[in-house]
Each structure stands twice: as structure tokens, then as C-alpha cells.
Amino acid sequence: MVIQAELLDFQAINEAIRSAGNSPVEIHGCCGQRYIGDGLADQQVEIFGTPGNALGAYLNGGTILVHGNAQDAVGDTMNEGLICIDGLSGDATGYSMRGGSIFVHGNVGYRAGIHMKEYGEQKPLLVVGGTAGSFLGEYQSGGTILVLGLHSKDPVPVNNFCGMGMYGGRIYLRAEHLPSDFSSRLTSRPAEEADLKEIQPALEQFCRLFGESMEEIRKKPFYVITPNSSSPYQQLYAAK
């Protein structure tokens, strides 16, 4: 089904998507309509244009493909499924996602992967092809974030305060060195063979989705960042 979005508001668009049942949907001429695909499962939605905020929030399966840039809060609290953005993504991409994957071809804004968590078998994945703004993986508690910094001149693909308050999960940075403000509450090491093997499927999927080359990706080393304690806040409190 093809939806021409120019004259439709978000309710009409989501209504049309739901009415398509399990058949794939294409949205053309999208410009800022919010909440597209929120809470969907097992459907494929392809978007041309600029979807608005909260794209694919609470996504529970299925796929959302964006040909263009996405705005803020993509995949907010997403549970399962796949979101691919062949463009840029705004602030708080993947906020609190618990499962599923988000692939962004270009840059993401501030607070990407903030409070990403994992539960049981659910392990969320956020792959950023470009660079990330400040507070990447802020209080991340699970899952994996990859930032590749492709086509960027910056030696480090993240802005300030990377992994601030992180207490679980992993961040992989494809970088020449660690961020200069690297927090003492984090630990890091150059990725070893085993680490690279672990992210290999994600990198392959990224290359497949966006036509990037694995050879290019391999040209720079990766750093693996993890918190240095899973409960760093205990010593802060005194019982009254």
C-alpha cells in the first residue's frame, strides 16, 4: 500500500498503516508527521521524506525504513524490530530501547542510546554510521552501541560526555583514540579479535543496508567501552 502523506496528519497516517494489516506500506512525501509506526509489530513500513518525532516508539517487531532524515526520539522504548534510517537521526535516538535494532547511516544527535537497557534475551543494538553528539549512551545499562564515524575527519566520532553514568552494556567506538574527556567511571580497551567477532554481524548488516564497505570500516581500530562497576552509585548514600 502507498500512502501519500502530504495532506495527512499523523493520526490518518497511522490509521492507514494499521488498516494495511500485515502487508508492506510505503509512505511518500512525509514531512514532520510524528508517531509513525508507534507500537507496531510485524509490519514493514518504508518512508520517503522526513518523518516527525517519536518515529517507531514502542516498536514491537517488524521493520521501519526511512529514506531521508529522522527527527528526535526515534525508537523510544522500542522492544523489538528494526529501524533503518538512510540519513541522519535527531536527539535521543533509541532512548530506553530494550530490544531490536536501530541502524543510522549518518550522524545522530545528542543522547543517542540514552538509558538503553537489556532484559533476558532482549539485547538492543544501535549502529551509527556517522558521528554522535554529546552524552552518547548516557546511563546506558545494557545492549550495544556502535559508532563508526565513517566519512568523518574527526579522530573520535563522539562529542563530549560519552558514556556518562553508564552502568551496563557496551559502546564500540571506531576511533583513533579515546575521547579526551573519557570518564574515570568507564573502562576501555582496544577491541580484540573476540570483540570484533561479536560485532561482525552488525557491521555486515550495516554494510548490506547502506552499501558501505567492510574494508573501509576495518581501516580504523575500535575501542570497547564498558562501565567499571555495575552499581557505581551505592557508595553515594548513607541510611538515615
Binding site: G32, G49, N69, Q71, N107, G133, D181
Partner: protein, 372 residues
């Protein structure tokens, strides 16, 4: 019900801006189309626009846009204006009846020049003279409110959705090299049009999204220097901060931006020694003008436009370019709505100003634009 000035009303918002670096006139309906896309970010309780380069025929005069609640207020205010200005031209601002815009006050426009002997006697420069007159009218003449006072620029604002406000003021009839727009989402019903954005003093205008947490610290500091925050709005105090830093202290835009959205100490510590000293000095001297809490602002001034986010970037903002046109908005869709194909689009970092200026006409290709 209390209005702005008697009570502080927090509000969220949408903003959008268009700037032609070559000074090519852009019609007002383009900015209306842009801001209208972000309808959901406003709640119908305030919308407004600032246009620069819109009054070329009166470009040497201060264009005073004034709301009057009563004819008596207009009489008192005009008496005051007559004592301080030569009024070159006056008229009602043309408007059109629009369903979503009601309870309009009397809206007048004056093209005015300071009376030479009064100006000389005041021992002030022209801008300071006008600024003091504006502050005096707004704080002392009840029922009168000067909401625009720059040269060759004007603010148009009302209670309503921005697209309705644009229609009400017939913005399609104006052309300017720079436009900013604002859709307001206040937390309770303001009774009064003056509270809408942009807020403006002289040629400075501010539209703002967010609610700052440093408000009273900032207000109580700038009020030491003769400003009176009669509206108790964030835009008002931010405008006064910029006026103080730029006009009274002589800081550059970049320096002023680094006062208002100062880098964190940890960031300053990693800078080169020279910069470190300069930033430390600015943060120290103007510490009470640090603005905290979420904000994204568009600061318009004669010949330029600055976009600035708070240092944590708690509000969204994207910027874009197409040819000589610069765009900035809370959301990308507001730019795409008027310029689907762009040369470049990016998200400015928190606390890092994006500044665009008119290209110097004689030097043609030389760009003064400092956008990164």
C-alpha cells in the same frame, strides 16, 4: 486572570528562521508556511514573527509597534512619544480578521526619530535613548506596550496559532532578508498579546523554545543595569542579557553566546591556554548571566541572525543551507516544508552558536557567514 508581568508563565514552543545572505527579499508567507508545519508544538496561545529589511522606505527611523489596551492609553503614550520623538509616519498596522485570532488590542506603528535637542540633552547615544524610552513606556504607561522598536525591522505577534497570526498581520505583503517565527505553548492562558514571542528591543529580537531555570538569577542581575523585566518571560530577560553584553559591554556575538551558554569547566580545562583564559574570564565576570535549563533561541539583529542552543542541548534544533539561504528550525520538517532539496543540513551542537550575516555587497563573494 493574571497576565505576563504579574505572573511568570512557562512555555514550550516551536521556532523557525530564514535568512538570505545576499539580502534577497523573502516574502513573509514563506516563514508562515514553515512554522505552520510544527503546529503540534504550539497550543494556540501565542505566535509571532520578526522580519528584517521590511521597511526600506523608512530605514533610518525607529519603527515602533505598539499595543494599546484603550484609547486613553494611546493618548498618554502618544503624548510621551511627541515629547521624545519626531514622528515621521504613523498608522494602524494593517490586519485581517482571522477566526483564530481574537481580542485584539489597538495595534499602531510609528516611524520615529529621537528629537535632536532631547537626545543631546540626555547625553545618551541614539540607541540607549530609544531603549530607555521603550523601557519607560512599558513599565510606566499602563495599557501601552511597545513590542518592536528597531530600524527597518518589525515584530508581529498575537495570541493564536502562528499560521493564524501570520494571516492576521498579512505577512505575505512584507518582504525581508530575514524572518524568524515562533509558535508558543504556554502552560496557562495568558490574557495578553505582549507575552507572545518574539520579544524585541531596538533591532534585537528573540524567539525561544524552552524554559530556563536560571530566570530569576539572570533577571535580578540585568535589572542592576536599568532593565525592567516587566513581562517575566524568558525571551525578555534573554534579550536584555544580549543587549547588555553586546551593546553595553561590547562583546562579540560569539563571546556573548559563550557567556549565556558557557562551556562546562571540564570542557574549558581541555582548551588551549589562551582560550582557556578567555573562557574562564567570561564565565567569571558574567557568571550571573549563565542561562541554564533548556533553550533554543533565534537572535535576530540588524544584518544577521544567530541560532543558539543551551549547553546540554535540551531543545532540538537543525540548521540547513540552500544557495545563499540559511534555514534553522526546531524540526527539520519546518525547513523541508519550504525547501525540500537542501545543500546541507546539520544539527548544531549545544552551546555553539551558528551565526549568519549579510554578505558585504561590494566584496560580493566574500562570506562573513561563520556557520560551521
Amino acid at each position: 486572570m493574571k497576565k505576563e508581568g504579574q505572573i511568570r508563565i512557562p512555555s514550550g514552543c516551536a521556532l523557525s528562521g530564514i535568512f538570505s545572505k545576499n539580502g534577497t527579499p523573502v516574502a513573509g508567507d514563506k516563514i508562515v508556511t514553515s512554522i505552520a508545519v510544527m503546529h503540534d508544538r504550539s497550543n494556540g496561545l501565542g505566535g509571532g514573527f520578526a522580519g528584517y529589511g521590511i521597511y526600506p522606505e523608512f530605514q533610518d527611523c525607529f519603527a515602533l509597534h505598539i499595543f494599546y489596551e484603550t484609547s486613553a492609553a494611546r493618548q498618554s503614550c502618544e503624548e510621551f512619544l511627541d515629547q521624545h520623538f519626531e514622528i515621521v509616519n504613523l498608522s494602524k498596522i494593517p490586519t485581517k480578521k482571522v477566526a483564530g485570532v481574537i481580542d485584539e488590542p489597538q495595534i499602531w506603528r510609528y516611524f520615529a526619530l529621537p528629537l535632536p535637542h532631547k537626545l543631546a540633552a540626555s547625553q545618551l547615544d541614539e540607541k540607549e535613548y530609544v531603549a530607555r524610552c521603550v523601557i519607560k513606556v512599558n513599565s510606566e504607561i499602563s495599557g501601552s506596550y511597545i513590542f518592536s522598536s528597531g530600524k527597518n525591522m518589525g515584530v508581529f505577534k498575537a495570541v493564536g496559532y502562528p499560521e493564524d497570526v501570520g494571516e492576521f498581520y498579512r505577512l505575505e505583503e512584507y518582504e525581508g532578508y530575514c524572518w524568524t517565527a515562533h509558535g508558543r505553548y504556554p502552560t496557562n492562558t495568558p490574557g495578553w498579546w505582549g507575552g507572545a514571542h518574539p520579544f524585541s528591543l531596538l533591532d534585537y529580537s528573540i524567539v525561544h523554545n524552552g524554559e530556563i531555570s536560571s530566570y530569576d538569577a539572570n533577571r535580578r542581575w540585568v535589572e542592576m543595569f536599568g532593565y525592567r523585566c516587566t513581562l517575566q518571560t524568558d525571551t525578555e530577560v534573554i534579550t536584555y542579557i544580549f543587549d547588555y553584553l553586546l551593546r553595553r559591554q561590547g562583546l562579540t556575538l560569539e563571546e556573548a553566546a559563550h557567556v549565556v551558554a558557557a562551556p562546562f569547566w571540564s570542557t574549558i580545562a581541555r582548551q588551549l591556554p589562551e582560550d582557556r583564559e578567555a573562557y574562564t574570564y567570561l564565565r567569571n565576570v558574567f557568571s550571573s548571566l549563565l542561562v541554564t535549563g533548556p533553550f533554543s533561541i533565534l537572535f535576530g539583529f540588524e544584518g544577521g541572525l544567530m541560532a543558539l542552543n543551551d549547553r546540554l542541548k535540551l531543545r532540538s534544533m537543525v540548521a540547513a543551507e540552500k544557495g545563499d539561504l540559511f534555514y534553522v528550525a526546531s524540526e527539520e520538517c519546518a525547513i523541508r516544508a519550504v525547501e525540500p532539496e537542501l545543500d546541507r543540513l546539520w544539527a548544531p551542537r549545544g552551546g555553539e552558536p551558528v551565526i549568519v550575516r549579510l554578505n558585504k555587497k561590494k566584496e560580493g563573494a566574500e562570506k562573513l557567514c561563520q556557520c560551521q
